[in-house]
């Protein structure tokens, strides 16, 4: 029982880290450019498809990973220049619609190029297998790697935002776009860089998750909505908020699915308990978000109102 619980906690952590990779890009783009980007999930999907296709072609997961990173960053830069740039001055409704249109284009485009049947990615031999913890718990190495990649990206982002010149500019752009443009920073190039950075993070997340589940059209959408839940809970524009929010959502979802059916089994018959428990578990994170927003409308770490 304890082992199972620890395993579920690790699963929640891994899920949370994957969500963080998605949410980090989303929150940066929203915080800096004030843009709601529904197409973020498409970049995640693109990353997974490119990784699976390249890995299938060359036989190397690592080449696939690099290719997915490049492809999603490039796709991000292209759509920023072609479409997204025209949306900064528009209201949220136009942003929602235009990026919804991008989802249609990306999803059907992927189906066109890669076919309708799902692709599969295998974990490279070095990272497959399980790690045995003291106490006897066995846990897949690859999931641990995802947790560490998430932590590394979080560290890297904190350093980037807090400790580099680019980070200073990004923060300045968040605070007052007119002022930093007046100070001579090329704001549109800065925006393209931020957007491509967010896209690359989404692409990595897609490639990593592609090894855990099948790679198919539409895989980005559930994750996208969860990533939105994460940044709304954490506070829009805050990397720290995205990290805390992602862990909170990952844990709540995983533990809810694990504990609720067991809890209900104490008071009703097992079949009904499974139904009620899983129904309730699936809405738990949305309840969490609603509660956070009603109590603290700007999110846990949000500065703006």
């Amino acid at each position: 029982m304890t082992l199972l619980l620890i395993e579920q906690i690790l699963n929640g952590l891994q899920y949370g880290m994957m969500l963080f990779l998605m949410a980090a890009g989303l929150t940066l783009v929203f915080g800096v450019m004030g843009l709601i980007n529904l197409a973020h999930g498409s970049l995640y999907m693109l990353g997974a498809f490119v990784c699976a296709a390249v890995a299938g072609f060359t036989g190397s997961f690592w080449l696939g990973l690099v290719a997915s990173l490049i492809a999603s960053a490039a796709a991000g830069a292209v759509i920023e220049v072609a479409v997204i740039r025209r949306l900064y001055a528009r209201d949220h409704l136009d942003q929602v619609l235009a990026t919804f249109a991008l989802i249609l284009v990306f999803s059907e485009g992927c189906r066109w190029v890669f076919g309708s049947s799902p692709l599969f990615l295998t974990v490279p031999a070095v990272l497959s297998g399980a790690v045995t913890f003291p106490g006897g718990l066995q846990y897949p190495l690859f999931r641990l790697v995802i947790i560490f990649v998430g932590l590394a990206v979080a560290g890297g982002l904190f350093w980037l935002i807090g400790g580099t010149r680019l980070g200073v500019r990004i923060r300045a752009g968040e605070a007052d776009r007119g002022m930093i443009a007046a100070l001579g920073v090329d704001i549109s190039r800065l925006y393209t860089i931020v957007f491509a950075l967010g896209a690359a993070l989404a692409g990595i997340a897609g490639a990593l998750v592609g090894t855990l589940q099948s790679v198919q059209v539409g895989m980005g959408e559930p994750v996208l909505i969860l990533a939105f839940v994460v940044i709304v809970i954490g506070g829009i524009g805050s990397i720290k908020g995205a990290l805390i929010g992602a862990l909170l959502v990952g844990m709540t979802d995983t533990m809810g699915r694990f504990l609720l059916p067991m809890g209900f089994a104490q008071i009703m018959d097992p079949a009904a308990a499974r139904g009620v428990g899983s129904a309730l578990a699936s809405i738990l994170i949305y309840l969490l978000m609603a509660v956070v927003l009603v109590v603290r409308p700007q999110g846990l770490f949000g500065a703006r109102t």
């Binding site: 409704l93 284009v105 059907e108 485009g109 129904a279 927003l293």
Partner: protein, 328 residues
Amino acid sequence: MNITRETVVNSAVLALLVLVPVVAQLRGDPFTITLATKVAIFALAGVGLNLALGFGGLISFGHAAFFGIGGYVTGILASHAANYEPLFDGAFTVNGTQQMLLIWPIAIVVAGLFAVVIGALSLRTSGVFFIMLTLAFSQMIYYFAVSWPSYGGEDGLSFYTRNQFPELNMFDPLNYFWVCFTLLILAVGLSAMITRSRFGLALGGARQNPQRMASIGIRPFWLSLTIFVISAMMTALAGSLYADLNRFVSPAMLNWHMSGEIMVFVILGGNRRLLGPVAGAGLYILAEHLLGQFSDYWQFFLGLVLLAVVLFAPGGVIGILTRRRGDV
């Protein structure tokens, strides 16, 4: 009454929507009648959303919830009636029903109750948070429908006969089209009445400048909540009709993609135009049908068209058609 270009365009849109199924009937083509019925139903959902989105300025990204609730109320009532199982059997008995005239008000009231709760909570926020909260609530209902096994869960719920309307054979596609079309016209009329009323004017004020409304003693919250609920009820009626059209409800009706599509109907036709959603839904179904014939990947092109409309023609189709020379 002065005749503006918008009046002309509106009349043309409605005339087209009536003509297509009538001609199809004469040519013995029930498929086209069903397509036109679908347009009328989607248009009704859009007219509902347009009240909140266009006239109220409330960007609801969760109207699929109300569309789906309308559908599920219909499906649940009809399947209970078909199986002679009471809905509730205790101190008193509640039976299902197959009468549209009973189903509609129940669907509308149930969705309205949901809308009161969702609206009251979501309206505590604004901007992007409002969009996300409405989305979150609709996803909540979606996942609930997926994982709740009693009414089909993920597989959805079929009911085998279309529900009944007094004195009319609902299996005749043209009759069913007339029912849907009449409801659409009533909804459009109601929208026109609402937007021209004192309430509608105050609502427009609240959309453009909430502080100013508050300063003259009108609380924007109540205006917004009222229009949100009315909007949800119309969309729920459309959901009920849609369920009856297909004799099937599934969680897909609740999915956020549906919310996006209803939004697309409104914007494609023209936001805040009375008949915008009708033109938008018509174009959408037409595009689905025509593009679908020449490519399996029609959504790819639909996406490009939509992108072009949002970027370059914010007024939608009716906006383009009614634009005078020299207007920008």
